[in-house]
Symmetry: none
Subunit: 215 residues, 4 copies
């Protein structure tokens, strides 16, 4: 059995003989000095929405947590093994990032699962997706009941609701709330349309998503 | 306040006027047909180790979970809010990926925290990093006691131990075990050296890390 | 019985009709003037790691001590028959070398013996390997207890620890310490990977091994 | 300070871009299968007499102990830290070599020191060379008293005496004696003339040194 799948070996060859060659000084410096990203992104695992691709980001630029449907559970100081809370703590307290962006996207499989969870068969006996997406089940149920909206509209609606929900949960972390209030940390929402490549950003005053000026 | 940090707007402008232009058909097709990645990667949040960069991966190629120190907790069917388990379930049962790669890296902040957890002050009252990294605390304690090794050697040792640990935990998920035994799913380990850009892959027979032939 | 094994006769024939022909002036000069090597190398007896081969060294270039696992016992002015101390004294006081390099290597049989000494049967009643390798038994025991590391990782770890140990012991020789402090003698560590041919050199600040730029 | 002296880096570059390229399969095989040299050589540290050079030996061919003046102390089962005994034990018991060659050479600094030890000032307070060469001091005193021989003749005489002395000491090791008696291990003596490149081998019947037929 090969050490790694062929497509990864081929891709790594491109990297090490291409991009790495021109950025080797930067990599060495990042190794020596440590990372100092200004921005943390919480994105979905989806293979079509890598933040580094959508934001054309270089090494050292983005600290990235990715889980199904880019969810942030609420602050739970007594919980165990919270991978999301651990990543937030590290980003805010250790790296002192200035921005946190929750980035959702269209045609999200996790959101689709949340919208159908009352009728769907669990993917496995553990029903991990079901439990994970249950974080937004009250919203999902409401949206699912909006039968006058199309399937696509319901998905987009819940995708954006879940971004606002995760941003609200970010504010349940005391250190995030304090830093945001002091103006040292900014929370953002973004939504990426896989089909058109469009990026929509959340208006913090209204919660609406709109397309930013890109100059 | 701007909708998004300037560097993200600038990066997105590069994407939408560059890469997206040449790949728009592919994006449209991925939106229409859905994603079908062959490979899931579990990687660290670290800003220097995006799998899409290291493997020069295009949209639709990699389903990516990222958490601090690329850890997989063991299978716990009664647990709640397991973001890692949810992502695994989705990748294996819904997307039917053929490969899962646990990808660690050098100079990992989470590993460093694990090695110093007995002496370090928690980053916040919740000590989320401490709890999350406690998944590997038995190994961390053993390695931390190897005082004849340098700080760097201890970190590399634990980084690689944690990859093997996570791969072992992957096999505690019944569906992963079954599919691997049937030869339908391959589990891999990889370790990326931020400084040199070198990729090391785990030899499945020995657990040792070696550099793959890249042709 | 032949005077010498056939393969040595054949090899010597290659030497005397090949290399020696083009280097005879140099050999004559080295005989007339005496040797004046700048560098002493302490290497292992292992047949795969001759320093003259790895460093493509010509006659007169390297003063070479080779013992099992390239160990330097500590300075012991009252000891007897110290072959290592004698070689060091000759190199430093008589030849006035400028560099001493302790060169270890991967898959070292002596290191392997040290890691298993608690369980292994001595090779002979004298247990000379056991006694010799007991120089590093405290480190060996610690590394052997690191059961989460693979067999290969433990060997590499101890190979590198033993290089640092020998370098530390070099500094227990007063004349070496004094000359190093005066900047007249440099101590180095190197580790050769038999499989890949890679040479790793010790970073004097950290003790870590890294691959030198070879231009 | 550089990781390694420049001349070693330059030499290694020659090796890895030259010889290693054509022998990489052999190196990999030697790493995978382990070493299996047929011959052990006990040689001097002298920079002009590397056995791999004089015998044009490839990787894996010669297991090589090198100390000052290629001496073998007698078997001493209660001794400590005997680097020579450890190397012999490893070669004979673990590698099961078929030949042991004690290889001396002309213009040996250790022999010269032995010949003048009654008049010379120790190189350092530990007088390690003095102690080490005292292994052959009875012979050295006799030869030094042969004032009708020239300085060069006295040196050559003691160089050859010491080879015979070391071979005799080899036979004090029970396992070597037994294997030699069984015809499974052959002991040889050789003497290399740095100036002319000539190799002389010991006639086992007479102890005389003569030049072997090299075909």
């Amino acid at each position: 059995m090969p050490l790694l799948p062929d497509h990864l070996i081929a891709g790594y060859r491109n990297f090490i003989t291409g991009r790495y060659v021109s950025e080797s000084d930067h990599y060495r410096s990042l190794a020596r000095e440590g990372q100092a990203p200004e921005t943390m992104i919480i994105a979905c695992c989806d293979s079509r929405t890598a933040p580094e691709t959508v934001f054309d980001a270089g090494p050292g630029e983005l600290f990235v947590l990715r889980n199904v449907a880019n969810l942030i559970p609420p602050y739970e100081p007594d919980g165990e093994y919270h991978s999301t809370s651990a990543a937030l703590e590290f980003a805010v307290q250790s790296l002192k990032v200035k921005n946190i962006v929750v980035m959702g996207h269209g045609r999200c499989g996790g959101i689709k699962a949340a919208l159908s969870h009352n009728s769907a068969v669990p993917l496995s006996p553990g029903d991990f997706i079901g439990k994970w997406m249950s974080l937004i089940s009250p919203a999902a149920d409401t949206v699912a009941a909006s039968t006058m909206m199309t399937t696509g509209e319901r998905a987009t609606a819940l995708e954006r609701i879940s971004i606002r929900y995760s941003i609200a949960n970010l504010r349940t972390f005391p250190c995030i709330k304090i830093l945001e209030d002091k103006g040292k940390l900014a929370l953002h929402g973004a939504w990426f349309d896989v089909s058109t490549g469009e990026l929509w950003a959340m208006n913090k005053a209204t919660g609406d998503f709109e397309r930013p000026e890109i100059g």
